[in-house]
């Protein structure tokens, strides 16, 4: 019954919406023109990066906070924190099983390439598709691969150094967002320095996001990793 009602509601909704979408007139406002005007002052040449880190940079600031919240949630869920030991520094007790040599070799080969590619993607973001998040995702993938090769261990709780590294990008972003408050608005970069500031934010974010994204996986991985 619930099935029937939900499915027919979804079908009716989709049919109605598609029907009205088919003859939707053009939008009254076109932000493309506004953005094109703003591009010279944005500090970057790639429009998506300009939106992501300049005109709507505030969205991105909050988005990083969302990621950190998710990381905290994962830390809570993975915490089998031993209250009697030093909290916050509980390295995983890994069962020492050697990784597949193929995986090891692959990881050793791919990781340097991934780092170089990530740096390229980060740097390219100013002019063409790419940027902090994509670079971070590549690095995170490399970290996960290193984990499968048993080079990077999983952990139940991030150590202090890891926590600092995971937050550093967010902190840099926060500071750069706050400094313009002295004379203007939140995240209002001086146009001359905008390119440099955006690069600084993106570099910090790449490292931190890579750790956070990999953390979403590695903090949980030990449950399974120990049993392999």
């Amino acid at each position: 019954m619930k099935r029937l009602v939900t499915l027919s509601a979804a079908a009716i909704f989709a049919a109605l919406l598609i029907d009205v979408l088919l003859d939707l007139p053009a939008a009254a406002l076109d932000l493309r023109a506004l953005l094109a005007e703003a591009m010279p002052a944005s500090g970057v040449a790639h429009p998506v990066t300009a939106v992501l880190l300049n005109t709507r940079g505030y969205d991105t600031l909050l988005e990083i906070a969302v990621l950190l919240v998710a990381l905290l949630g994962v830390v809570i869920s993975s915490a089998r924190t031993n209250l009697s030991s030093d909290p916050g520094r509980t390295p995983a007790s890994h069962v020492a099983i050697d990784a597949d040599p193929m995986v090891s070799a692959l990881a050793r080969l791919v990781t340097p390439l991934a780092v170089i590619f990530a740096i390229y993607v980060l740097w390219a973001g100013a002019h063409r598709p790419g940027g902090a998040f994509q670079a971070a995702a590549i690095l995170a993938a490399a970290l996960v691969l290193l984990h499968f090769a048993r080079i990077v261990p999983a952990c139940t709780a991030p150590s202090c150094r890891l926590r600092v590294a995971a937050v550093a990008g967010f902190a840099i972003f926060l500071v750069i967002a706050a400094i313009p408050l002295a004379g203007g608005a939140l995240l209002q970069y001086p146009p001359a320095a905008a390119g440099l500031l955006i690069l600084a934010i993106e570099s910090g974010l790449t490292v931190s996001l890579a750790l956070v994204l990999a953390g979403l996986f590695l903090l949980l991985a030990d449950d399974a990793g120990g049993r392999q």
Binding site: V121, P129, A141, G226, R227
Partner: protein, 92 residues
């Protein structure tokens, strides 16, 4: 019908198929596989929409990282719950 439109139609059909399979295939492993395929098809769709940034992110995250996360979770759920004795020890 132009070739481009034909390709778009095919891609959309495959997207819907992969999504439906991910949700309805009886076997979870195949469902996860269908989901990873869905992520790759989404990346292709973003390329078709002139959004290479999203395509890159979708391929890296949607298909890559989420896929690994999901398969790892699946493996953890299939196995017996982790050593209950040790968990109990930890919480004491």
């Amino acid at each position: 019908m132009s070739a481009a439109l034909a390709f778009d139609l095919l891609l959309v059909a495959l997207l819907l198929l992969a999504a439906l399979r991910a949700m309805t295939t009886p076997r979870l492993g195949q469902a996860l596989l269908a989901f990873v395929v869905f992520g790759l098809l989404m990346a292709l769709a973003w390329v078709r929409l002139d959004a290479p940034d999203i395509a890159l992110a979708e391929a890296a995250v949607g298909a890559g990282l989420s896929g690994v996360l999901l398969f790892d979770a699946w493996r953890a759920l299939r196995g017996e719950p982790p050593d209950e004795a040790s968990t109990a020890e930890h919480t004491r």
